[in-house]
Symmetry: C2
Subunit: 161 residues, 2 copies
DNA sequence: TCGAATTGCTCAGCCGGCTTACTAATTTCA
DNA sequence: TGAAATTAGTAAGCCGGCTGAGCAATTCGA
């Protein structure tokens, strides 16, 4: 058994955030920020995953797989997120008569209403940072780099462009 | 039922990452980055949560609750992470004779070895960004702002400082 | 000193990622 | 035309966050 003897590092600093690897900072920041929203969202009967779907439905009714692609999430994950939204009454899934494999997802009127009220939560509860533009630029670079390996190309919305 | 008519937004751009709220960018970037590591970690038989614990044990044997505090995670989450690390043989939990509520967690020699091999994964697989310093600064601001509401103060390592 | 409060840990159950594996429907093409 | 390949969706099971609840041990304080 290893006693875990201190390595060649200034011991009282190693485990403070400013010495963490950047990726660890990234995931911790993400988790803390989502947590800060959860109260406000919960009061509306929403979760962050559901909020994203309600936003995506701005573009109109669409299929589950397309929602998954735009949310950068696997189809199975989207399926369960839609289960919960449907259970809450915010979206409806209707079999597509033209393609009986597809389900057409649409916001219900209650869903449109809760989305109206939730719309500003993400922006308003995000903490102040000194250089927000630099943060966005870096995050976009990361998303672009990482997703290019994971999804060859995310196509535009069906019928658009 | 709401047909989801397009709102007053340039339709083909709304759902591209550069128009996302910053928080959504943050969580997506975080998820994609962690995914990029998962192959390398899995080959070693590790997960990201476990890697963090092995790193924290640089400071020597300690209790579960202290590990949780330093990882910014609830005690229950840490408990299950340690279950998996223990099952894999990388840490040992020994009841503390001095305080029989506590379990002293230590790296096994196998755990120290796998940590040696895993140590560079986070740094080496993190994608290149133009202004890495600005990214870190912003993430540190976010963590500080968000965690001050969640945890009043994260105390230093027991016995240090 | 002894009852109350706190602390350390675990369990159960939820959400939301993931992979693997399956069904059903559609499309492709030899 | 008909078999093969692809696509849409779901199910099961894992990881890792979380909350709420509970037990055992320790510490506090009247």
């Amino acid at each position: 058994m290893d006693a875990g003897e201190p390595l060649s590092v200034p011991a009282d600093d190693v485990h403070r955030p400013d010495h963490w690897p950047t990726g660890r900072l990234l995931s911790t920041a993400s988790r803390l920020v989502e947590h800060a929203w959860s109260d406000a969202l919960e009061r509306l009967g929403l979760t962050h995953a559901g909020l994203i779907v309600l936003h995506l439905l701005d573009l109109g009714d669409t299929s589950q797989s397309e929602l998954a692609r735009h949310a950068r999430v696997e189809a199975q994950t989207m399926s369960r997120t839609l289960d919960r939204l449907e259970r809450a009454g915010w979206v409806a899934r209707v079999p597509d008569p033209a393609d009986r494999r597809r389900h057409v997802v649409s916001r219900t009127s209650a869903g449109a209403e809760v989305w109206q009220r939730a719309q500003r939560i993400e922006a308003e509860l995000f903490p102040q940072v000194t250089d927000a533009a630099a943060l966005r630029t870096a995050l976009l670079e990361i998303v672009a780099a990482a997703e290019s390996r994971r999804w060859p190309a995310v196509p535009p919305h069906r019928g658009v462009r």
